[in-house]
Amino acid sequence: MHVSRRRILAGASLLAASAFAGPAAAQDTIRVGILHSLSGTMAISETTLKDVMLMLIEEQNKKGGLLGKKLEAVVVDPASNWPLFAEKARELITAQKVSAVFGCWTSVSRKSVLPVFKELNSILFYPVQYEGEESERNVFYTGAAPNQQAIPAVDYLMSKDGGEVKRWVLAGTDYVYPRTTNKILEAYLLAKGVKKEDIMINYTPFGHSDWQTIVSDIKKFGSAGKKTAVVSTINGDANVPFYKELANAGIKATDIPVVAFSVGEEELAGVDTKNLVGHLAAWNYFQSVKSPVNDKFIASWKAFTKNPKRVTNDPMEAHVIGFEMWVKAVEKAKSVEPDKVIDAIVGVEVPNLTGGTSKMLPNHHITKPVMIGEIRADGQFDVVWQTKGLVPGDAWSDFLDGSKDLEADWVGKKCGNWNTKLNKCGS
């Protein structure tokens, strides 16, 4: 069944590709690849990112383009199919001759395109918070690493304002991002003196829709007389029924708060948030943040989509930052050659949408503020806590064995996993 579906899709995309690639375009424009799923499971999140990229490119062209040339967006649809991501990436780089690619959402899709970008030496901007434990020369990670989202969120819950949580439920969808994040969090909590029996870890399949048992387990776990919180790495479609069940079971944020790492304004658009007031999310950007750049961005986004109800979210901001950084690096290098851009982009600083200035670091991650938001009845978030300054992204977690000795440095060491103990490249 799956095979046939893939074949159909692959066939269709082949047709589309040959129609596209027909007349070899003269290089009087700079081409930018957009590699986001427009159909299938992930379309729900990724379509928005395609739109935001189109808007950014349009705005840049209004400003006169780049290096005197117009930018041209090349959109492909990898259809939430991980092997197809690699095929489409190859098509973008070899057939469409794009200068940089903005794309991917799930970690598995990123892992699938990595070899292609390395082999063809191109550039990928990856805009989503992820599990870390990776740094590649050809990839720029504009989303949060675990130390820019998960660890600060747990710190907040342990603080007085967060409710001095003593018992933890780590609930996630069963794939690489939640498993790695939870491994890091568990190590971190144990290091902070939390007892093993005060941590409950639970995994569910993708798209899990019957949460009755798990929610009642959480309720039971939380009735031991110690303040309990849920750290949720539940991803995608499963979130809506999870939150509906929480509301059904009468679990209020003042009893057992849930802090989520994959739930933002877009995901909440499908839920009645009246019963979810006070549940938390940790991100580097919220639409509700008041700043002149953010107000301007929201206004132009609503105008671009012609929908006054459209919301903005964290991965969109990551693309805004990534695109600005790429533009600045290209201007600095006076070329779109990947090698020159990769060298020029480290150290580039651009304003983020929350009023600060983000900087590209030698480990190809960026500096970001970390914010904790509480869900409001209108589906937006109230920022209740944020880091004083910006937090530099750490590719390799300091709380995992085998990873704490690694550093990524693409400037001095030219290495993505430099072992500081052995003083050599490679773990």
């Binding site: 304002d161 479609d237 006070g278």
Partner: protein, 540 residues
């Protein structure tokens, strides 16, 4: 409550006075609340937290209202002009300092922000203030709030409330709250301790049990320990029984969802033998019909929102039924007897429908609201049961019964059965078989649409909704025995309950795998499912 309005007003005033007396013996006055309100102007969580405490103790008659508004972001401030306005749920405005009504909203106001810590404090404070409220629901909430805060200062009012309480549910909650407060007092004498523990065990929930356990760890007196341990054992025994009952309930609930999703397929696949991969999309279209109907209700008749599902039901049946008939006429009727081509064609249809919906409605989740009667829970012998789930189970049973009735007791059903059992003989008897084929497929699709209306209440409404149910639906139909509605029923309930009993031990991922493995083994042993059809129909 047999109290007249004037008496109630009196009681409310009494309550304010009592609150003032038992909390602190400060002079009741405007200054106390003025100072507290000034803190709100800072819009900092620490100041707001202090203000909550002061407002609760101020004795102001509006204290409970102000606190409630604060938790709901309905206290609006303007730090520049020092204005503090309280908005009521209906939208009318009141000056927080004087209590006077304000005609129009001044410009430049923003709500005071709160966080969980502040809201927790507000809940506890309101609990103390509304224990004597004339509204039973408010008293219940107040009792629960005191149970959580275990505020010893609330004890006198708690006793007073307990003495005059008539409602048994509220009375139990009050007793539970009182016991929880008593239990935190380390000097409590043995008879009182025994009574408190009894009240907690009577409440029977895990949280109450947790309190006794906590007391046990801090107690050294052997006699008291024995008393506590016996109580804990009793409570745990009860929890175990409840856990089994709860698993059965969860299983029935999951089973009803499976049945609802599969029942349309039991007709198109089970009765007609068409492998319909677009079945899930019919469910999805039903859910989107519900969304569209609700949008219309929101725009034109927000007051009648609770009726939106009743309107959506027949509409979803019509919409998906007609689409089903169109698919049967346009595609499937050319492919009878060629299952592989049917499978591929309907799979294609499913992709087309998904992308069509994605283009028309956008790819993000759509919010489908629940009418009031479907939200909340009720208590059944200590088992907390969600109204929404309960209605879905009942709804499934009604749909199932009606379908049986249609098949067994109507001319259409008779003709359907005749055509599926022996097409040529039915045709010879004058039945227009092609028309019956289309109608049968329409009926199956229409029921899938109805299922979509119900599933929109518990799952997310997105273009992918159908995909998550198609595998499960085939599983249920094949396991139950193709062509047998009762088989589908038994199989859905069995799979639901088996899943829920496995889940606590194996986890959600492994439970799903185990069920699949068991199913494959079972199909090896009995390829025709639980209730295999016998006789000529099988060969047809």
């Amino acid at each position: 409550m047999p109290l007249r309005p004037t008496v109630m007003a009196l009681a409310r005033r009494c309550l304010a006075a009592v609150a003032a007396i038992w909390l602190v013996c400060l002079p009741v006055g405007a200054q106390a609340i003025d100072k507290a309100l000034d803190r709100l102007l800072e819009d900092s969580f620490t100041e707001t937290l202090a203000a909550v405490d002061e407002i609760a103790r101020s004795g102001n008659k509006n204290a409970a209202d102000i606190l409630e508004a604060l938790a709901d972001r309905r206290v609006l401030i303007d730090a520049a002009t020092k204005t503090i306005v309280v908005k009521s749920p209906t939208g009318s405005l009141m000056d927080a300092r004087t209590g006077a009504a304000i005609a129009s909203e001044p410009a430049g106001l923003s709500p005071v922000r709160t966080n969980n810590r502040v809201r927790g404090a507000i809940e506890a404070a309101i609990g103390g203030l509304t224990l004597l409220s004339p509204d039973a629901a408010k008293r219940l909430a107040a009792a629960d709030a005191v149970f959580k805060s275990r505020d010893a200062k609330a004890l006198p009012v708690l006793d007073q409330a307990l003495a005059r309480e008539q409602d048994p549910a509220v009375k139990r909650a009050l007793a539970r709250a009182r016991a929880s407060v008593l239990l935190t007092d380390p000097t409590l004498g043995k008879p009182d301790l025994g009574a408190a523990v009894d009240a907690l065990i009577d409440a029977g929930d895990a949280e109450a049990l947790g309190l006794i356990r906590a007391r046990l760890t801090s107690n050294t007196d052997p006699e008291t320990r024995l008393l506590l341990q016996t109580a804990i054992d009793k409570g745990e025994q009860r929890q175990r029984t409840l856990a089994v009952a709860q698993n059965i309930w969860f299983g029935l609930s999951l089973g009803s969802v499976l049945l609802l999703a599969a029942i349309g397929l039991a007709i198109t696949f089970g009765v007609m033998g068409v492998i319909n991969m677009a079945h899930g999309e019919m469910v999805m279209l039903g859910a989107y019909t519900t969304f569209t109907v609700q949008e219309l209700f929101r725009a034109y008749a927000p007051g009648a929102f609770d009726w939106s599902l009743a309107v959506a039901l027949p509409l979803a049946f019509l919409v998906t039924g007609l689409i089903g008939i169109a698919i049967e006429r346009g595609i499937i009727s050319f492919l009878y007897g060629r299952p592989l081509e049917t499978l591929l064609a309907t799979w294609g249809v499913s992709l087309v429908l998904q992308q069509a919906v994605r283009t028309a409605y956008g790819s993000s989740n759509k919010e489908v609201g629940s009418p009031a009667f479907m939200s909340g829970t009720f208590d059944l012998f200590g088992l907390s049961i969600a109204w929404g789930r309960m209605w879905i189970i009942l709804f499934t049973l009604v749909v199932f019964a009606s379908l049986l009735l249609v098949l067994k007791a109507t001319p259409l059903g008779l003709q359907m059965r005749a055509v599926t059992q022996n097409r040529r003989m039915a045709a010879a008897m004058g039945i227009r078989t092609r028309r019956i084929d289309a109608l049968t497929f329409g009926l199956g699709s229409g029921i899938a649409g109805i299922a979509g209306v119900a599933l929109s209440q518990i799952d997310n409404v997105s273009p992918n909704l159908g995909q998550s149910y198609i595998i499960d639906s085939f599983m249920v139909v094949v396991f139950g025995g193709v062509g047998n509605l009762w088989g589908t029923f038994v199989s859905a309930m069995f799979l639901g309950i088996a899943n829920k009993f496995l889940e606590p031990f194996a986890g959600a991922v492994l439970a799903k795998i185990l069920i699949l493995v068991l199913l494959i083994l079972f199909i090896q042993k009995r390829p025709r499912g639980l209730f295999a059809l016998k006789g000529r129909a099988v060969e047809a």
